[in-house]
Amino acid sequence: MQFEVLATCHTTRARVCRMTLGHGVTMLPTFMPVATQAAIKGLTPQQMEGLGVSLILNNTYHLNLRPGIKVLQEAGGAHKFQGWNHNLLTDSGGFQLVSLSKFTKITEEGALFASPFTGEPTMLTPEESMSIQHAIGADIIMQLDDVVSSLTTGSRVGEAMERSVRWLDRCIEFHRKSGRDEKQNLFAIVQGGLDPALRDRCLEEMIKRREGVAGYAIGGLSGGEEKDIFWRIIKQCAEKLPADRPRYSMGIGFAEDLLVCVALGVDMADCVFPTRTARFGVALTHNGPMNLRLGKYAKDFGPIDDTCPCPTCSDGTSRSILHHTITRETSAAHAVTLHNLTFQAQVMGRARDAIIAGTFPKYLRSFFAGYFSDSGYPEWCVNALRSVGVDLLEGDPAAKVVRGNGAKWEYSDAS
């Protein structure tokens, strides 16, 4: 990996970087669409290329079950299997093990779980996770970590963090010996729950191992914790992580979360949210999410966003025909997915431009003003951005601020 910091924001901790991997250049900060099963829901790789996407994510847990490692090896890796010639990242499979399997038991050796096919006890060790990710062949691979829900408290959190450090050592060792470390870049995952002291300890240990680590992810968040705690942990981690390594915030996809994370120094994020919400009929726009299932769009002949360059909007696909087909025709899901991924790419692309131009604080203010104009600013965003020197309420101290997590939705009137 070549990693170069091109510009940093004069006020916040945001930065623009060029990350060069085996399958091309990805400019950071960026949002990574999720292709869980080796396909972005309903789209072809050519459609993804049309959107200018240069880095997507596959899930190791799922690909290991289907099509299985043998098929991927025969195909010559996941890139070839799915016809994707750009950069690819795989997770370690640990998160899905814990969230999808009730019987997973963590031991020092690895994660013991019941095979979804045979019910047989199966062990996923750090070495095995590396080996599976080597077969998949992604440009960025993740260490196996000991995942606990962000709502977990007590000694388990510290234990998981310590074990994640030990498993990182095993991953580094296995990865180096495999000789794959030239082509595939291993990322560490910082754990430690919501406890700043544990996070600090984890950061310290993992930074010590930086020679074996191409980048760092911030894990164990976005599991339902208070947003005011979420951003403080992100800030703490991003501040301490080395400047010459990319920083990846896992499972982050709401526009406001993305921009706050970028302002706190995060370079990459992924989430199923924009593609999943598309299938339920929600289009993301710079004025907030739009629920196309609402009756008011039945006779609305404008596109989702007439300034949007995505194939759906630029072809003039109306809200009305999307209302008619959404949730009923797969092609409507594709249309809104194309739009939402373009929206995510635009939010991040504009951030890159603004950081380079030295206008990132202004961009933050104008984005939030547009996105939350009617519903009010989430208080946690105001707080988080104030902590890096940007006041969303500047010039409008009377602006509405809402407590809580502040996700903005148009609720459905359809059954």
Binding site: M27, L51, R66, K70, A75, F81, G83, N85, P311, E329
Partner: protein, 536 residues
């Protein structure tokens, strides 16, 4: 004004032999003409869109040229939203079809839908939408059509979708209604005073059910010279037929009436799977070869009195075998691709050519591959053996194959990639590789919608190539055509055994995904005759 015409390049000289020609739609105001070589295909739609293909993939699929839009799903909102679309060419605009690429036709009902419906009345036809049955008057239909400006519209017809058999009296009434409703569509719209008849081309469905004399009577009624009020209403037309640009045949109600009363389907599948299949796929009846053969005299009865130079269009032909029969023995010019598109829903990748390859195997080959089958899990070949891909080297003339131009076998570049910031570096262009059976197999088993996108485009391309092959034989060696049809029937399994296997596998995977997903799929299959549920 737009005119639909058929130029017959060659025919066997008989009334009903195979015809080679070209259907053209001339749009005078735009000075443009779209052409489809015949025999050729019409793409079917569901809720106004080509199932599984987003607009950029529709535009990248050359086989999609004439698109047929059943209108009834739009009755959910009143007035129907496509009739409110502002601007020029409202229906094209609303559905995203391109004026320079797509001919758009519409009919009130989905010609592939065989659900039972309440009887039509003298002044209205019944149509089906998500919110239930809707009555549509001939005047509604005329007004909507004028507003939407489809290139081609099918007049309302009274096809009984009530339980048969139908009495002679019922049949007579049905014929009278159908011609009255056609006459209504041929009238100018009086309240605007504009003569709008000639902005569109009108097709008429050949009524009369399975009674040859009734079918003939309907055709004769189209040819009767009109007098008095009736003549005044459609002035300057002397007969109804003068205002008709082509004849359509909805085969689904005929198949239903001609097939022996369906015995309760005995299934070799376990009860839950059988129930799942029954719930998911209510439209499975494949006509027997005998039932297909019985179509021929019925279509003859309709066509014999009528002029020969107008296009003959068949909806919902059950297989390529039936299409060939109707080309050879009736001279049908256009077929909808419903069959091939449906195959994409159930995971079948078509793989056949006309003429059939020489020196085939002993057993009849399948017309396609059930990609659910585990035999494809490690199969990295492209979807079809009979076609090359963007990577095939065709230098050797002996083994040269037609390249399948579809988005799966020859993936296209879809425009210039979007750039999202000024610092974005170059975005390398790679030569895309054809998608493999193993990949589609994986996508089907993981319920990924991309599988259907690839299959839908591929199957349309294969059917398009099939018709191209038919045209080549009709042009170069017309006398060999009948023999080639026989050879095709010997080479390929017309019983579609592979379909049954695919349907079972499709149901099995749906079943394995749980109750919520099953409920969504069942709802989708009940509502529409094409497409699969959105995977949430």
């Amino acid at each position: 004004m737009s005119t639909l015409r058929l130029d017959i390049e060659s025919s066997s000289g008989t009334l009903f032999g195979p015809r080679l020609g070209k259907v053209s739609l001339q749009r005078d105001a735009e000075g443009s003409t779209l052409e489809i070589l015949t025999p050729g295909l019409i793409t079917s739609t569901s809720r106004g869109v080509v199932p599984h293909l987003s607009r950029n993939n529709v535009n990248a699929t050359a086989a999609i040229c004439w698109v047929h839009v059943p209108f009834e799903s739009f009755l959910e909102v009143s007035p129907p939203t496509p009739t409110l679309q502002p601007g020029a060419h409202p229906l094209h605009k609303y559905l995203g079809f391109r004026r320079d690429q797509h001919i758009v036709s519409t009919s009130l009902r989905d010609p592939s839908d065989d659900r039972e419906m309440p009887a039509n009345g003298n002044g209205f036809a019944n149509a089906y939408c998500l919110r239930g049955v809707r009555k549509v008057t001939p005047a509604d239909w005329r007004n909507w059509v004028v507003k939407m400006q489809p290139d081609i519209v099918t007049a309302l017809t009274d096809v009984p979708f009530t339980a048969g058999p139908h009495s002679q009296k019922r049949m007579t009434k049905s014929l009278e209604r159908s011609s009255a409703w056609l006459s209504d569509l041929l009238q100018p719209i009086s309240d605007t005073g504009v003569d709008t008849r000639r902005q569109r081309s009108i097709l008429v469905h050949m009524a009369g059910g399975v009674i040859p004399t009734a079918r003939k009577a309907f055709s004769l009624s189209l040819l009767e010279t009109l007098y008095g009020k009736e003549a005044e209403a459609v002035k300057p037309l002397a007969t109804l037929d003068e205002g008709v640009s082509g004849y359509t045949f909805d085969l689904v109600p005929l198949h239903k009436a001609l097939s022996p009363t369906a015995a309760p389907i005995r299934s070799t599948h376990p009860p839950t799977l059988a129930a799942t299949m029954a719930a998911l796929d209510p439209h499975v009846d494949l006509p027997t070869p005998e039932a297909s053969a019985k179509l021929v005299p019925l279509l003859h009865a309709s066509l014999s009195p009528l002029p020969q130079h107008k296009p003959r269009i068949a909806h919902s032909a059950a297989s390529p075998h039936e299409m060939l029969l109707l080309i050879r023995d009736v001279g049908v010019d256009l077929f909808d691709a419903h069959w091939a598109q449906r195959a994409a829903d159930i995971g079948v990748a078509l793989d056949f050519t006309f003429p059939a390859p020489n020196g085939g195997a002993d057993a009849r080959a399948d017309l396609g591959h059930n990609l659910y089958d585990t035999r494809y899990a490690h199969d990295f070949s492209p979807f079809a053996d009979a076609f090359g891909t963007c990577e095939t080297n065709n230098d050797d003339k002996d083994t040269a194959r037609t390249t399948c131009p579809c988005i799966a076998c020859s993936p296209p570049r879809l425009g210039t990639p979007l750039r999202h910031s000024t610092v974005d570096g170059p975005y390398p262009a790679h030569a895309p590789a054809p998608f493999t059976r193993a990949y589609a197999h994986h996508l089907l088993h993981t319920h990924e919608m991309s599988a259907h996108a690839l299959l839908a485009a591929h199957n349309l391309a294969v059917l398009d190539a099939f018709f191209a092959g038919v045209r080549v034989v009709l042009a170069a060696r017309p006398s060999a055509f009948a023999r080639e049809v026989e050879r095709f029937a010997e080479a390929y399994d017309g019983g579609l055994a592979v379909w049954a296997q695919a349907r079972a596998a499709w149901a099995e995977v749906a079943l394995a995904r749980g109750k919520g997903r099953m409920a969504r799929e069942k709802e989708k299959q009940e509502q529409d005759t094409l497409g699969t549920a959105v995977e949430l």
